[in-house]
Amino acid sequence: MKLRKLLGMAALATTLAGPAALQAQTVEEFYSGKTVNLYIGYSVGGGYDTYARLLAAHIGKHIPGNPDVVPINMPGAGSLRLMNWLAEAAPKDGTAFGAVARAVPFEPLLGNEAASFDAKEMNFIGNINAETSLCAVNADTGITSVDQMKEQEVMMGGTGAASDPNQQSNILNEALGTKMRIIDGYPGGNDIVLAMERGEVSGRCGWSWSTIQATRADWVTDGTVNLLLQIARKPHPDLPDVPLASDLAETPQAKSLISFIVAPQEMGRPYVAPPGVPEDRVRALRDAFDATMEDPDFLAAAKETGVSITPSTGAELKEIVEEVYAADPETVERVIQIVR
């Protein structure tokens, strides 16, 4: 602890000595010849990693001064470690930003004591793909609508209290009165899908449409599973007939509960820079991000990799976060009770 304090003081001293020199520099001058590190809160191979590496390969040429952008994995605690690190220890000069889990910005609000950052202070750079999450059940259950789920208990797979499948099932049970029973503890989403296939559970929530398309598209076309509802702000263009969770909410309270599971989907694949980065550099990173999202090379590479791109801007992400944090304390308390 002492050492950390000492380090902190030393860092403070150096930043105090520097601002005059920093201000004289343009963004381009600052970034030229530099390396920007894109930290990834997960180990190699998963979805967040794939997206981040794709971004790292293309964003450099859109940042003034064309710095090298190097992807670096810093896994731990479902990217909570990275978010804490970005808030507390990362360089605040614009040479570091990170890919974190879509739900991580809301952890402090939901009472996770290990989350030691202030989400509203973070500089959101952008999101590559707003997600659409689905609840689906095996067709052999005979369930084809959410109304049936209110009558009949269904066993749904879960991957731990804080994960999408659990939070969505739990919130929907409360908000819509469905009777999903969570069989909890599967190591990952793929394992739930396998458990569905062998009939151990009947369905799952928190299943991204992009994942379904990449891995189980045939189940949808041949009617092995029924897609019951989607969790997103607006219906996915591919899924006009699957009802939106928020449209099914009958009371304002139910609606505000559901907004807690919709917000992370909108965050999608978010990129975050530390608090305190000079404003002009944040702007430069955001502009570079937006430009990358329209870069034909980037889009071609995304197509080749098989990932979908529905971006939103850093400003939009900031808005979502502020909206969720503005929820009334009673609802927040309620959500905490349901999901923890």
Partner: protein, 679 residues
């Protein structure tokens, strides 16, 4: 099916694809040799390069790498007693014991031949089982996974050797360690002490390197001689003998290879335990193994090595057939699948069968190439065991440090390495078997997870499923048979009554400390949330009782000092101890403790320096300091070794693995110094 298999062979046998395969193999061997850097890191590194390749070349490249890491990892396991990956922990026991006897060449060559056969047999099984793969796998649900993990835990009774109580206590403690972190259901933090590092639980590699590698290196430093003290066998003779050993035990090789394929196909088990499964299996089935295992029996090398190469094929099964990765490196392969537009599932066994077969061929060929390359090199590698300790030790230790660090890239990795290093060394010195602890550590979390799912889904009726019944009965036999046999033996031979002189010794302190630690952990567990409390409480109380029994047994059944020191008694006590034994010949306990303290002092110094100036410069300074201060090595040896090792570390860990280095004092005080890597 046969058509698809031959088609696939001709596809893979094209020159450029073979080139990729061999490239993957060479990288895989290097990665296997580096302790702590496993197939996972290697495949992660290669994945981006495979985007441009055709699918068959891409999989040849990736699988070539994955298939042979457990061939390369044998080298440090045998020569230095440092497992190269998690799959070669068990190889250390007998392999390193053989190296100490001057049989490093024989051990290595036996390992390669069994690795090769094991790998090819695994691929063959996979190829044969393709038609029945999906139906069989669909039959394996959570209860069956649970039963397999319970079966694994039952091997503790074999791996504890003749110290059953200590083994049980160690296994229980291992299970408790596996429960550290966010509970998989409630998300409650168990025993994390407020640290975010422990959120995901203790990572495997720092624990394995701490428990097995550091104690060997520490004893190496205490002895202050070369690893191999006996006259080395003529290498060529040793290698020929090793190959013969493997062929003579072909039955064992086949059995362990099948075991490896099956264990590999169960997600969550895989390479972390397969070597112990095979080792336990061999110890259980081979006549007389109780007396020779752990003391340089070549069969103790053959069993784990033939099993761990077969796991790659096994792990491919759920990955290809269901899209559920059978291991961490298979998760990366899954990424490659999607990038190449392949969807895991039934199509891989029908319309894309040729791709699946080309993967199987890749694994088989990689095993042959990998073993061939290693075989050609093992003569030179075996000579490493005859070098002075100051020449090898600092480099190996630096790489162990970096290997442990690269997993989570966190200071916590180094603290864990050091803590488990001390624990492992004490356990080794006091003859507490370490394998049961490792088994408990790997299987504990799996058992808790699937116990929860199984009882929630099926209540107690999961016990009635036929596969579960068969496996659990098997586990019961493994546990009960030695107990019954010992009981019968005792009834038959009524020897002269032993006279004991109960009393406390300084060494009882360790059992005492463990009791306190486990007691504290249990009392902490009382405040966990409902769902998160049950497992830790049950295992904790069990471990607590086992430890008290160990202490009571030690104190009450203490032999009078003169009988304990007699040679026959010492020999007798060694029989059936399934672990390496510290042999501090001719050194007084005071010297041993002093030199042990110096060793761990070096490690502390390493970490302090790392906080000051960064990991890579530290490795350089550490190598020089160790060689100069411990043994006054001449500068003309010191400098090339230090420079070469540092450059190697720089390329592998900084350039290739792109590790984010933690901030250092120097870098914070003098920002320009950050231009140096890792500062």
């Amino acid at each position: 099916m046969l058509d698809a298999a031959t088609d696939a062979f001709f596809q893979i046998a094209q020159f450029h694809r073979l080139l990729f395969l061999v490239g993957g193999v060479v990288l895989g061997l290097v990665i296997g040799i580096l302790p702590g850097v496993g197939g996972l890191a290697g495949m992660a590194l290669l994945l981006p390069f495979t985007f441009q390749l055709d699918p068959i070349s891409a999989f040849a490249f990736l699988l070539g790498l994955a298939a042979v890491t457990s061939t390369g990892d044998t080298i440090p396991a045998v020569v230095f007693g440092v497992p190269g990956t998690q799959a070669s922990q068990a190889t250390v026991l007998d392999g390193h014991a053989m190296a100490k006897k001057g049989e490093a060449g024989r051990a290595l060559s036996a390992a390669y031949v069994s690795s090769m056969i094991g790998g090819v047999v695994g691929a063959f099984f996979l190829a044969l089982s393709i038609p029945v793969l999906r139906p069989v796998m669909l039959y394996i649900g959570s209860p069956e996974l649970l039963a397999c993990a319970v079966f694994g835990i039952s091997l503790v009774s074999i791996l504890s050797g003749n110290s059953a109580l200590k083994g049980l206590a160690a296994a229980g403690f291992g299970i408790m360690l596996s429960m550290i972190g966010a509970d998989p259901q409630t998300g409650d933090m168990r025993w994390t002490l407020g640290s975010i590092y422990l959120y995901d639980g203790l990572p495997l590699m720092p624990v394995a390197l701490g428990l097995f590698a550091l104690p060997e290196l520490c004893d190496f430093a205490i002895q202050r001689v070369a690893i191999s003290r006996a006259d080395p066998q003529s290498t060529r003779k040793g290698m020929a003998q090793g190959a013969r050993d493997a062929l003579r035990n072909i039955r064992l090789v086949m059995q362990c290879a099948s075991l490896g394929t099956v264990v590999g196909s169960i997600p969550g088990l895989g390479t972390a335990v397969v070597d112990w499964f095979a080792y336990g299996f061999a110890a259980r089935t081979i006549k007389g193994a109780r007396e020779t295992f752990g003391r340089g029996d070549v069969r103790g090398v053959i069993a784990p090595e033939s099993a761990n190469n077969a796991t790659t094929s096994g792990a491919l099964i759920p990955t290809v057939a269901f899209g559920v990765p059978g291991s961490a490196s298979m998760a990366i392969l899954l990424g490659a699948f999607l990038i190449h537009g392949l969807v895991p599932g039934p199509q891989m066994l029908t319309s894309n069968l040729d791709v699946t077969y080309s993967m199987i061929w890749s694994i088989a060929l990689a095993n042959i190439f990998g073993a061939g390359i290693c075989f050609a090199l093992s003569g030179q590698l075996a000579k490493l065991a005859t070098l002075r300790y100051t020449l090898i030790m600092p480099t190996v230790l630096s790489i162990v440090y970096l290997g442990a660090f690269q997993g989570n890239r966190d200071w916590g990795d180094l603290y864990a390495l050091l803590a488990f290093g001390v624990l492992g060394w004490v356990m080794k010195c006091l003859r507490w078997p370490r394998p049961p602890m490792m088994l408990g550590f790997v299987l504990g979390a799996i058992i808790e997870r699937y116990m929860f799912i199984s009882t929630m889904r099926y209540s107690w009726e999961w016990l009635l499923r036929p596969v579960v019944l068969v496996v659990l009965v098997g586990a019961a036999i493994i546990i009960l048979q030695p107990i019954v046999a010992a009981f019968l033996r005792r009834r038959r031979t009524v020897g002269p009554a032993q006279s004991y002189s109960p009393g406390l010794r300084l060494t009882d302190l360790f059992a005492g400390l463990m009791i306190v630690l486990v007691g504290v952990m249990v009392s902490m567990a009382t405040s966990f949330q409902d769902g998160a409390r049950l497992g830790p409480m049950i295992v904790g109380c069990f471990t607590f009782v086992a430890l008290i029994l160990v202490l009571a047994d030690q104190v009450m059944h203490r032999l009078p000092k003169d009988t304990e020191l007699s040679v026959e008694n010492a020999e007798e006590a060694l029989k059936g101890h399934m672990d390496l034994v510290s042999s501090h010949d001719g050194l007084s306990p005071g010297t041993v403790v002093l030199r042990g303290a110096i060793f761990f002092g070096w490690m502390l110094g390493f970490m302090a320096l790392m906080a000051l100036i960064g990991l890579i410069p530290t490795a350089f300074v550490f190598i020089i300091a160790y060689m100069r201060l411990e043994n006054r090595e001449p500068w003309k040896l010191v400098l090339p070794i230090a420079l070469g090792a540092t450059l190697f570390i720089f390329v592998v860990f900084h350039v290739l693995l792109a590790i984010p280095w933690p901030p250092t004092l120097l870098g914070t005080l003098l920002p320009w110094a950050k231009a140096f890597p890792s500062v």
